[in-house]
């Protein structure tokens, strides 16, 4: 801010923020300290171990089959996010630019799903997926997730396309573009920021998805990382150092991506909350 502001006790503000940061970081630090205690022991609180057992991470990696988990999560994200983003972008465009006021109810059908808790449909989803024969496959996570993401994603993309002036669409029509060409050559390039943010949000939600894998996929190696963590806890829950090491490994990928793309993530999460 360049213009002068009346600052209310900057010291108090800074102190408060630092306190919040400490509270935020504390659980991570306590996990790290536990993860470095000898495996199989009962560590105590937050203390730097005399002999840090970095090998716990390797052990956790091995017993949890992390490489397979990582691959599985990546496959699920690749199956879910691009398709969801594509469908939502198309539908957002269609609902913003191609429908008449008379078909506004169609948009409402999507919007009513915005607040739907996944638990509200998880039971019938189980039977539906069993019926299709996808139980215990990654498809059991991918297909329902795409569907469940539609309300938010369509809402998000439609809001973006509503902000694009109709003139551009009309100009491209006069330039000879068919709808499909207009979509790919004019609308999608302009929607890139919105698409990026949506992609980030959907990536996070997919990677961290827990309920669907727990219900629909028994085999931990076909789950998401988060879903596998549930199984890992069930198996190694009593070995706190190993559990903490495993948890830290499992939350590392998103944290690393977040640290790299900090600005985009923060923007996406903030906007996501505002629009959701």
């Amino acid at each position: 801010m360049t213009f002068p502001r009346i600052r209310t006790s900057p010291l108090f503000a800074r102190g408060l923020i630092i306190l919040l940061m400490v509270v935020t970081l504390l659980p991570f630090l306590s996990m790290l300290s536990a993860a470095l205690a000898p495996s199989g022991t009962y560590p105590s609180g937050l203390e730097w171990p005399a002999d840090p057992q970095w090998g716990n991470f390797a052990k956790a990696w091995q017993v949890a089959n992390m490489d397979e988990l990582l691959l599985s999560s990546i496959l699920i994200v690749l199956g879910t996010v691009p398709a969801a983003v594509l469908f939502a972008t198309m539908a957002g465009f269609g609902l913003a630019k191609l429908t008449t006021p008379r078909s506004a109810w169609f948009y409402l059908v999507f919007v009513i799903g915005l607040t739907l808790p996944f638990e509200a449909v998880i039971t019938p989803l189980y039977f539906e997926i069993r019926e299709i024969g996808l139980l215990n496959t990654r498809g059991a996570i991918i297909l329902p997730l795409i569907g469940l993401y539609m309300p938010f994603s369509v809402f998000w993309m439609r809001a973006h396309f509503m902000s694009i002036p109709n003139d551009l669409s009309e100009a491209s029509q006069l330039d000879g573009a068919r709808r499909w060409q207009e979509f790919w050559m004019v609308q999608v390039p302009l929607a890139r920021p919105a698409i990026m943010s949506l992609g980030i949000l959907l990536f996070l939600w997919t990677w961290n998805q827990f309920l669907l894998p727990v219900v629909l996929v028994q085999e931990p190696n076909r789950r998401t990382m988060a879903g596998a963590l549930g199984a890992f806890q069930g198996q190694w829950g009593t070995d706190i150092p190993l559990l903490c090491a495993g948890s830290l490994i499992i939350l590392a990928p998103t944290v690393i991506l977040f640290l790299i793309f900090q600005r985009q993530f923060v923007a996406a999460l903030l906007q996501g909350a505002v629009k959701g």
Partner: protein, 316 residues
């Protein structure tokens, strides 16, 4: 109406009243269907149809193992059970207690931070703050649950800290304690949502015109007046958003509870999401689970819609 004959138009002319460019209208509708169709189909297949099935199951008594044709029609009895059974009522009550924990600490602390700095966080400190405060939003909730179960452990940081400040008598296994388990779970949620709410409110307050505060000062406003008459009204929107997000998260919580307490001790921390899962897949009461699911969905709507309406009204 006079139609001038012309060779190029080719198509036979429609008699008056002519259908106004119906071919183009049809083409536009076809475009709309083509663009909206895929999203709608997959949404219908995996949300609308299951939702309909949920409603259907909720009227049945079915174990989920035998064929559904063997299920008995149960009318609204499942719903009556959801709304009268003591355990289920307590579980729904738990969700609302969690909602208070998920909502109040983040919003209050967020407001405190926002009104203390009252500007966008800039520079390296700002970036560091944003990054750290957002970390809980980025990690899986399950990981947050595991991290905090270790924090709350008998040997965990919370008890360590209490001992350190001489409150040894207060130490306990927090998540196993009948009185403190639910608040403890609530604080996990508050921890997750704290950063998001704080950043939303900080962004919001930076958007309030600074001259409003100067004007208030000239009018003789004290800090608490400024907060009451400038900050709060200016942040109504952001507060509404925070509350919406936290309430949805609390009412539909599952991950944290599943890993931190599995609903225990007893059913002290069981939430509807977890109970639906248990009823449907462990207790084989698909009908009751579905009725609870529908009730949960309606509860979320009943909490969120009034907030959204209030926000919308203000915008107009």
């Amino acid at each position: 109406m006079t139609h001038l004959e012309n060779a190029t138009a080719g198509a036979p002319k429609a008699p008056a009243p002519r259908p106004a460019a119906t071919r183009r209208a049809r083409r536009r509708r076809r475009d709309a269907v083509m663009f909206i169709g895929p999203a709608f189909l997959i949404y219908a297949a995996f949300v609308i149809v299951p939702l309909g099935m949920s409603v259907y199951y909720s009227l049945l008594r079915w174990d989920g193992i035998g064929p559904i044709s063997g299920a008995t029609f149960y009318g609204l009895k499942n719903y009556i059970e959801v709304l009268t059974d003591d355990d289920l009522l307590q579980i729904i009550g738990n969700a609302f207690q969690l909602a208070a924990w998920f909502t109040i600490p983040p919003v209050v602390l967020g407001l405190a931070v926002a009104s203390a700095i009252r500007s966008q966080m800039a520079g390296r400190f700002g970036t560091a703050t944003r990054t750290i405060l957002f970390l809980p939003q980025v990690i899986p909730l399950v990981a947050a649950g595991i991290a905090w179960s270790w924090m709350y452990d008998r040997n965990g940081v919370v008890n360590q800290f209490l001992s350190l400040i001489g409150l040894e008598s207060w130490t306990r296994g927090w998540l196993g304690d009948f009185t403190y388990a639910l608040p403890a779970v609530g604080i996990i949620g508050a921890w997750v949502l704290l950063g998001l709410c704080t950043m939303l409110l900080v962004t919001g307050i930076a958007r309030i015109d600074g001259s409003l505060y100067e004007a208030a000062k000239l009018d003789g406003a004290r800090p608490r007046h400024e907060f009451r008459f400038v900050t709060l009204p200016g942040l109504k929107n952001e507060i509404g958003i925070c509350v919406t997000v936290t309430i949805i998260q609390a009412l539909s919580s599952f991950d944290i509870v599943y890993v931190a307490t599995a609903g225990g001790p007893g059913i002290e921390t069981t939430v509807p999401g977890l109970e639906i899962y248990r009823l449907a897949f462990a207790h084989r009461q698909v009908g009751l689970a579905s009725a609870l699911a529908i009730v949960l969905m309606i509860l979320v709507l009943a909490c969120v819609l009034p907030i959204q309406w209030a926000l919308r009204e203000r915008k107009q």
